[in-house]
Each structure stands twice: as C-alpha cells, then as structure tokens.
Amino acid sequence: MNVMTPIQRKSKLVLIGNGMAGVRTIEEVLKVDPDHFDITIFGSEPHGNYNRIMLSPVLAGDKTIDEILLNDDAWYADNNITLHKGKTVSKIDRVKSQVIADDGTVADYDRLLIATGSDPFILPVPGVELPGVITFRDIADVDEMLDASKKHKNAVVIGGGLLGLEAAKGLSIQGMNVTVVHLMDSLMERQLDDTAARLLQQSLEDQGLTFLMGAQTETILGADHVTGVRFKDGTEVAADIVVMAVGIKPNKALAEKAGIYCERGVVVSDTMQTFDPKIYAVGECVQHRKATYGLVAPLYEQGKICANHLVDKGVLRYLGSLTSTKLKVTGVDLFSAGDFTGDDSTEEIIFRDPGRNVYKKLVLKDNRIQGSVMYGDTADGVWYFQLMREATDVSEFRDTLLFGQNHLGDSGHGAGSQTASMSLDTEICGCNGVCKGDIVQAITAGKLLTLDEVRTHTKASASCGSCTGLVEQILVDTAGGDFSKAPSEKPLCPCTDHPHGDVRRVIVENELMTIPAVINFMEWRTPDGCAKCRPALNYYLLCAWPADYQDDDQSRFINERAHANIQKDGTYSVVPRMWGGTTTSDELRAIADVADKFKIPTVKVTGGQRIDLLGVKKEDLPAVWTDLNDAGMVSGHAYGKSLRTVKTCVGSDWCRFGVQDSTGLGIDLEKALWGSWTPHKFKVAVSGCPRNCAESTIKDLGIVAVESGWELHVGGNGGIKVRVTDLLCKVKTAEEVMEYARAFMQFYREDAYYLERTAHWIDRVGIALIKEQIVEKDDARRAYADRLVYSQKFYQFDPWKAHATDQTIRREYELLKPEFELVS
C-alpha cells in the first residue's frame, strides 16, 4: 500500500431507478467531480439505461432496442458503478441510511437519489387484470405488444393523448385493426386546439385508425383473456388486446412508504432535495413547485442541478421548465407549445390551408408569443418556441410571422428549412462547413440530446449561430420527438451558470472592480476563466467603472491586444483611421511609404472607406504605427469590439442632390465616438439625402439627411443576415444628432450583452424600449450622453501610439532568441 496516499472513505451515492433522469444525474455528477462518490444503481428492468421516448419508433419497427440503448454495461463498469439490474428496491431505511431490494440486496448511502419515474395510470374498471391488458411504458410492454400483433387481429387503445396515439399507430403498422377510445371529444386536448385535433383525427383515420370519441369505458370483457370493451352507453367493441394509455402518475410509493413528504409526486425544493436532506429526487416521480414533468429536457435540467448540489457545489436552482410537444408518428407533423387557448388579453394569428392540410395558430400577448399549435407544417415550430422562451417582441415582423423564419430575408438559408427533406450532404453550417450528415452522425453516434452537445461535437451553429434553428430541427428529427428546453437565459460560458445579465448586475451592485474579484465572488468553476468569459468580464468592468478599472489586455482577443487583425498565416492587417472616409495626399503618401518600407504585400480599400495594409509581421507592428503616427494618423480600431468607421457620402458640399453636410457630421461623429469599446463592433454611416449612398440603413447607427433635418436609424446589419434599421426618430439640428448618437451608443454599451450586435439587442429588448430611453425621456438621454462623454475621457486615446512608445509593452512584440550560437 502506498503510505503517501491518505485513506479517505468516499461518500456513497445510491440511485433508485436506472432510467433517463437518474442516470443523467449520475453522468452530471461524474462530469463535475468523478471521484466524489462510490455509486450504486438499482433498476427494476433487466436492461441498461435506454431512451424511453424512442419506444414508439421501436413499436413502429423504425428502430431496434440496441439503437435506443443510452448506457451499456461497459459504461457502468468504466465508471466503477455497481449496477443491480432487475432488482426492485422495496424499502428505504432512513434511520440506518440503507436501501433494501426485493432479493435482499442491501446498500448503505450517504446520499440517496430517487428517480423511480412514473407508472401508467390504470382505469379503475372491472377486467383490467385480464391477460391482454397492456400498458405502454417499458421494453417489456413493447415486446408484449409486438408479440400480440403477430397472433391477434383487433386492438383497442384507451387514451387519445400523445402516448395512446403513438401506440395505436405502431400497432396499426404491425398489421392490427386499431380502435382508439377517448373520453374527450377532441384528441390530445391538452396539447391541441379543436381545429388541429380534427385535422389530426382525419389524417389518422385516413391511415386506417378508428376512433370512438366521448366514450367512457365501463368494463373490460373476457373470461381468461381480453375479448372486448364495453362502454357506459352499452355499446361493445371486440378486442384481442387492450392498451391502457390514459396517462401516467408519478411513482412515489417507495418514498411515501419511507415517510418522505409527497403530494402528487415526491415533493422537492429548487435544489431537487426532498424533505429528508440526505435524499434527492429527479425525473417524472418529482413534484416541483406544484408541477410534474414527463418530457426529457426538463428532467435533464433537473439532473444537472441535482448533480451540482450532490457534489457540494450548491449554486444552481431549478426554476421550472417551458415545454413543447411533437408527435412521433410517421406521416403526421404536429407541434404545440405554451398556452395556445388564449383569453381576453391575447390575440390569435391563424393560417389555414385546407388544400395542403396545413394549420398554424400563434397566440400573442403584448406582441410576444404565448403559445403555438401547428399541424402539417411544423418547420418553424422550433423558431416560434425560441421566440416564446426569449419573449421576443415580434411587432416588427408580425405581418410575415406565420410564413416562418425564411421570410425574414435570411440570405444564408432562404431556400428551405425543411431539414427532414434535405439530403445528407446539404451544408447546414456555412461558417464551419458542417453538413446535415455530419450532424446526424454525431447525434446518433454520440447519443447527443442537446444543442450545446451538438455544437461541441460538430461546431455546427457554434460560430455565427444563424443556423441554430436548422440544427435544433435536425436534433428533433434525429434524437426524438419531445424535444424541449429549459428557460432560455444561457450561462455566460461553461465556467459559470450565471447568465450575462446577472453578471452585469452583480458587478455594479457589489462594486466588483477586477476580473479575479468577479470570478471569486460569483464562484466560477475555473481559476481564471476561459477565452469566452474573460473578454466579456473585461468589457463589463470597463463599461461599469471607466475611471477606476484597469483594462486587462490579456483578457482580450489577440486582435484587441495587438491592435491589429490576425490573419490566417499569423501576420496582421493594419487600418489607420480616415475621419468620415476622408483622406489627404500626405496621408496617402505616408501609407505608400509604409507599404514599401515594410514590404507589405497587399494594400486594399475596405468597405468602410479606408485602407487596409495586409500581411504585416507582428514584430514590425510598432514601427509601422510610429510611421503612421508621424503622418498624423491613429488606429482605426478595425480589429475591435468598438467604433469602427463612420461612412459618409459627399453631401451638400459637392453633390447636386445633397441636402445637408453629411461628411462634416460624419467627421464630427467619428471624432466624438472613436476609441470607445462596445459589446460588439459598432458601425455608423451618414447619408446626405434619402438616396442613402452611405448605406445608412444597414448600420448600427445610420443617419439620413432630409430637407428639414436628420433621420436617425438604429439596429441595422449588413452581415450574415441582413437587417434593415428601425427608425428611431427625426431631429432638426446636427447638435441634436450628436447628443442622440452618444446616448444611443451608451445605452447599447450599458444594456447589451457582450458580443451582441445592436440588431440582436434590439430584437431582444424591443425598439419601444430604445425609443423610451433615447427619444421620450429627455433626462435619460442626456444622462446616457454625459456618461459616454465621461467614459471617453479615459478611453479616447490612440493605442498605437501608447504601444509604440511604451518600451515594456513594445518588448512583447519582439521575438526571443536562445543565448547560444548554433555550431554548424
């Protein structure tokens, strides 16, 4: 034995229930702290953990059991987990901290996790105990149904909800005559409105199913096997098997017997803890804030939070989940989410095309989506669900909302978002060159179930994010039906669970002044953050404390650290500022001299009306800057999340159409705003007449001159997805333009998340808020403008000059050489 290793007894964690929620929690525990526990798992079923939501495709013959297995025996062995398959825990002894299985197996625990899932709800009618009455819950049930379909002809499915319809369709595919019995007059009444339900019923009838609606089951008939079903009204229907699919109920029996407080399910707090502090619970057996969940994504979210507390990190809270539903039945496209019934305070937008059997309904409240039901064409379901989760103001595109995301003018993917019909070699992510086949392969091979996992494994949608909707759809099509997601406030990065908004607020409220202070105070998981959070923190700090914060250049991307743009070969490009796009013969001569002196291979005119010197060696940068400085030029910040260019047209000085001095105003704006850091790049343009030659309406801030003054436009973007600006307001004088421009930029600086362009920011918060703060409230506008002026006192300087003249910094640009001479 190695005497150097202190012997320490590891805590024991026991999981009851070898299903998706419980095992996911264990996986999260292993991810965060693999050595924290000795782990033991009990499962009643004789299998490893499998994807229960894919049982319908197994019944329909589209998948095999092997294909839906999530964790095989090797996984348990590799992670040193003791697995008791096929053993049902019959007792929890809370005094001795032990669980006891029906075969006498005993396991001690320090922490116990209950994930017993749910049981099918069995109608309390005579005959339910007869052979041939089957539930639809696990692999054994599916085997029994498949077996019955080979011997028998007639099946009755009781229950016209999600599960019942999937079972009915599966049995029908297996060759049985299927009658669906439903108590209500309308199918899936908790997910569908009447119209969608009628379309669904019609479609399933066309596919050969029979429906008995409003039928109340009285007795299941038969002597030693099921022979039929009798209803309250006296009618009967013949049946060789009866599938009971009226619903599920949380399986709380074991917990209740052990004296743990239960209501409809095992009651847990926001940390997934039961009333016994040693015992946690996750999954379908749980009741959290009065709600129970039966879809996979909320259960996974619970698992992540539970694991965080099991390993004593203790920072996450479960706040409940929004869910959406998709029916996993071949030939039926159906999607529903949120509150789709509406009330007096809501509005409905409905699209109906009986010829194509397409129906879409959106319920809006205050121009935000509350719920949706879609039938026949569900391609945009994921998008609507995203708009709903993020409470996006849709007023700007209400008129085309029902026609889908493509109609927003998404130039990248205009042709089609019907990912299901795309071929495997269709490119989905243009940034990273990822095809549909790569994504499907990664999801299948890696058993991926969340967007983040797909991003990590394939890089699809990891860059610009414009294909996120497509990737989510492929995930839905490939990984399974009821794809849903937890609340949309995403953590800043994997180092923390806090979203951007929280971090900004905490920095200000607690007067945190350095990156280590934030990392300590907010309990980051990493000692000094990562390349994602450090630049964000550096920005939030400098914006909050312009006078006091010491900018940390090592928390900036290389372009902002070296004040030049890194190119793919490791050289840099240099862009000097040209105020309002104007230059002089002297400046051009100096640029030409620099290009010659440093043998700069490419000189190019940029889209922002200036000149780019490409292919400069890093070692040469300080000398290049010195020469440009000597000719009176400063950094153009072409590399920064900061003011880029102010593009102008020639305006009234020369142009026969010009109505105002756009060039002069552009120069004034650039001189006022340059040097300031922003959440993302910030582009400005000034046009001298409504012909708009400076393309103001696709800039973050675009000014357009009219006879009577100036129009201010905001939130434009000419990049991956073109977005035309929103009109903010009209003002009379150039002085007013200056104040509004400063105020708008400062509001963006203070309110947007890091790496959020003005276009996305405005989509998130709504143009109404911008108008309120900048146009309607004179005091607020002046305060924003003043704060920008104050910040500029500290940040408006030429970084090139600072770097070229500071010997300590300049040294960083030099190469090290070893202190020896090569002997040849």
Binding site: D528, A531, R534, G570, L815, P818, F820, V823
Partner: protein
C-alpha cells in the same frame, strides 16, 4: 546545467501571457500561468496551424485565436471533443530564469536534417 540553455527570465513573460522563441526549426510559444509555471509548446495549433502564442491563457491551457481550440500545456493535446496534439518542450526554472533542453533547442531544422 550544461544540458540546459537559458531562454529568458520569468519576468520577461507576463502572468497569463506568452512570448515567442524563434528557433531555426520553427517557433516555440512560452506560456506563463497565474501560478508562475512556464510551459513551452510548438507555436502551431494542430487544427489550422494558428499561432497559439497569440491566444488567451487560462488555467493550464491556451485558446487558439483562429478557431477557439483549447490546447493543454502539460500534454499538448486539444481539449475534447477536438482531436489533435501539439509538440511540447521541457522547461526547467532556476532562480527566476527559464531553461530549455539544449538538445531540443538546437535540433536541426526538419528541412535540413535530410
């Protein structure tokens, strides 16, 4: 210490920073962590040969500036799920100076080694 060659002083590299060592066989990136440990990697990301020396240093790893691969200092390996490996060089610290193995420093350039 004859097998070891002094490269620079610890203070020549800022904490959470890097410097580039120019060798005939190629450039080597030297990194300093927040705990004043120094590591050396070939200055090439295994993905698209990005200059690792220009990335952001965090913990015992660096994020490549080109496509955000994360390379670990101790092994030179890319963080999963990315797959790839960058060459590591041995470092020894003596009284605030950074030393490398002379054999590794004076290797013949691959092109000349025949």
């Amino acid at each position: 210490m004859s097998d070891w060659i002094k490269i620079c002083a610890l203070e020549d590299i800022r904490a959470l920073g890097s410097r580039v060592l120019d060798l005939p066989q190629g450039r080597v990136a030297l990194f300093r962590t927040n705990d004043d440990e120094v590591f050396a990697l070939e200055d090439k990301c295994p993905h698209k040969q990005g200059r690792l020396s220009q990335g952001i240093v965090h913990g015992k790893s660096v994020t490549c500036p080109l496509h955000n691969w994360v390379i670990g200092f101790e092994t030179g390996k890319a963080e999963a799920p990315d797959i790839g490996c960058t060459r590591t060089y041995q470092i020894q610290m003596v009284e605030g100076d950074v030393f490398m193995l002379s054999a590794e420093v004076s290797e013949m350039p691959a092109a000349l080694a025949g």
